[in-house]
């Protein structure tokens, strides 16, 4: 039987649909007690990953474990994990209550549970209506009600906010947080960081079927250093002065200003004053999380030197779509961004990731947010090879 830990472990998951690699060597761990966001652009392989975890899709390689077990060894799985995978999955002619009573019977919970979950998701008055007449938002609620029937320890939701009205989204947010706070595990996927930003404590960011980052959202926020844009009277003198102070992360911005990363505006101004350089304008730029997400999921934005990027990559926002399969092959040229200061959180480029641990931040800042389970991802062993498929290194904590 399963270990009751509430932990989700994904190890080296790979799925090949014919010539298309939907998911490539994906690894991450989701701990109980927090809401984990599973983020990535459309076509990043989120749904396929969740379906592999739930035993609906057979992985080409790797394993997905819930409570230390593959889905099919959970016994009565719906009592361990509930899933909202799509706002479909209802017989159009079956009433909402009947739908729930069917699956209540399957998982062996009393029929009254159907009415309880209907009330819980706010469909109490619609129980006798046929699911075919439901709006998208109501279907989402019914899907959630189905997932909650077995009072599961682990809740997996794929884009649950689709079709929900703002009130519904606010409710869902609060619901998921309280669910996690009761010591359970919540994994919620989304292609919009903004949608889940206020809900999640931890994030797993994937792009092109690979893990780009996983860890606390706060670490991601902190990793995004602010930069100061300065318009000095004498650029050369200011750069020299800053370098003398040990500040080297200086860039020339196209508009003639210089951008200083990792310092506060005050420090730049003080240095300029000491060096006798006038400042005509100074501005602190705090890149927002959404922009960071965009960078993580779009290779070309992560690399400051755009020229370093292979020419096949079309420009603009095209990175939002799954790239052609050829892109995911090993041997993908490494990009410049790993040299950037503070970018240690980013996963190395794909060619690099074969068998290496992914997204393990070297040196987690001490400000790990409350709610992070003890030994959260710090537990992830950094040495390469440890995350090879088939290794049972994760279950050890249970």
């Amino acid at each position: 039987m399963h270990d009751g830990s509430g932990r989700i472990v994904v190890q080296g998951l790979t799925k090949q649909f014919g010539p298309v690699t939907a998911v490539q060597n994906l690894s991450f761990t989701v701990e109980p007690g927090s809401v984990t966001g599973f983020l990535g652009p459309n076509g990043a392989g989120k749904t396929t990953t969740l379906r592999m975890l739930l035993g609906l899709v057979t992985p080409t390689a790797g394993t997905g474990l819930i409570n230390g077990r593959p889905f099919h060894q959970l016994g009565n799985p719906a009592r361990v994990v509930g899933a909202v995978l799509e706002a479909q999955g209802f017989h159009a002619k079956r009433s909402a209550r009947d739908h729930l009573r069917v699956y209540a019977a399957a998982m062996g919970v009393p029929d009254q549970r159907a009415d309880q979950v209907l009330q819980l998701v706010g469909l109490g008055a619609a129980g006798d209506r046929k699911a075919g007449g439901f709006s998208l938002g109501m279907k989402q609620r019914l899907a959630l009600a189905t997932a909650l029937l077995g009072d599961p320890q682990v809740l997996v939701l794929d884009e649950p906010a689709n079709g929900l009205d703002p009130e519904g989204i606010a409710w869902l947010r609060q619901f998921l947080q309280s669910y996690a706070r009761s010591g359970r595990t919540v994994l919620v996927s989304s292609h919009l960081l903004a949608e889940v930003e206020q809900t999640v404590d931890q994030v797993v960011i994937v792009s092109r079927g690979q893990t780009m980052y996983y860890g606390p959202l706060d670490n991601l926020r902190q990793s995004q250093r602010s930069r100061v844009l300065v318009q000095p009277s004498d650029t050369g003198a200011l750069v020299t002065a800053l370098q003398a102070d040990g500040i080297t992360a200086i860039e020339q911005v196209p508009d003639g200003r210089i951008a200083v990363t990792g310092v506060e505006a005050k420090q730049v101004a003080d240095t300029a004053l000491k060096a006798g350089v006038s400042i005509y304008g100074i501005q602190e730029e705090k890149a927002d999380l959404e922009q960071l997400f965009f960078q993580l999921t779009n290779g070309q934005y992560a690399a400051p030197g755009v020229a370093q990027y292979p020419p096949q990559q079309p420009g603009g926002g095209s990175g939002y779509y799954a790239p052609p399969p050829g892109y995911q092959q090993p041997g993908y040229p490494p990009q410049g961004y790993q040299q950037q200061a503070g970018s240690g959180y980013y996963a190395p480029p794909p060619g690099y990731q074969q068998g290496a641990p992914q997204g393990t931040p070297p040196g987690t800042p001490p400000g790990t947010p409350p709610g992070t389970p003890p030994g959260g991802y710090q537990q992830q062993p950094p040495p390469p090879g440890q995350q090879q498929p088939g290794q049972g290194g994760f279950g050890g904590g249970a």
């Binding site: 509430g6 609906l56 010591g183």
Partner: protein, 313 residues
Amino acid sequence: MTEQMNYQTGPAGPAPQYRQPSMLGNLVKAEFRKTTTTGLWWGLMIPTVLIALGWALATGAIGKGLMDVVTSEDAEQLTDLIGISPDQWQVSLFGMARSINVATIFPMIFGGMAISNEIRHRTITTTFLTAPTRVAALGAKMLVYVAWGAIYGLAIVAAVSIGIAITSDVDALPSAGGWLAMAGVGVLSSILMTMFGVGVGALMTSVVGTTVVLLLYMLIIENGLQLVLSTQGLPELIGFLPNGAVNGLTGSVASSLFLSTAGVVPTELEDVLRAIAGALGAFDWWLSGLIFLVWTGLFFLGGWAATQRRDIT
């Protein structure tokens, strides 16, 4: 949250050997609810009963008309001459066999919906998420559809019996034992037809495709094949075809029962009688049943294997 505590101490729960049968019971209950919470079962039950009744009434009337001719004063001399006594003929047996064969088309369609409808409505996702394994989910479904095949079979036998009794002469009706035998093979063929449908539906995965293929094959394609085979002098092959085999199940019983009570019947006439019963080229009822069971098993296991391995995306 006390409930939650139970899960977290879950490993100490009931032992696996206790859990297994109750799990299957749960799944059977769930599958049965699936069939009773939509209108499909009665939507198909109405035409089933109407067709069974209608065919039984018609075939009973035809049989009666035939017997009126055969037993008339004019024909008596002829029948005496060739040494047969038609007043013993239980012609209604043929009507029963034919009516049962036609009506079992509907439980077959009902079976065809079992898995294809779940795939169409994407309820298969939740079905697999709420079952320990796909084997368990499909096993429960199989049990439920066996039961539904029997329910349809009983309804068919009842409707056919009523229809035949209304239009046939009392003399032309089977004995109690004969009726029981017909009822038995009627229910059996309904169950097998249902399972055949389940298998085809699981392989095809499309509701419309399954229905069209099943109807086309059973009503048109195989009849064409049978016609070709019998004109090519190979009628014995008909018994190996799915429809020929399942028809043989009821048809063979009907003709055996008929012959056992009909007195002297010339051998040349036996093939004609089997053809009337819809069992031309068919084997004994049990062999026909076995052959159709093989067909059913082939499609059912094929559909099962496909569903077992399919990626639910």
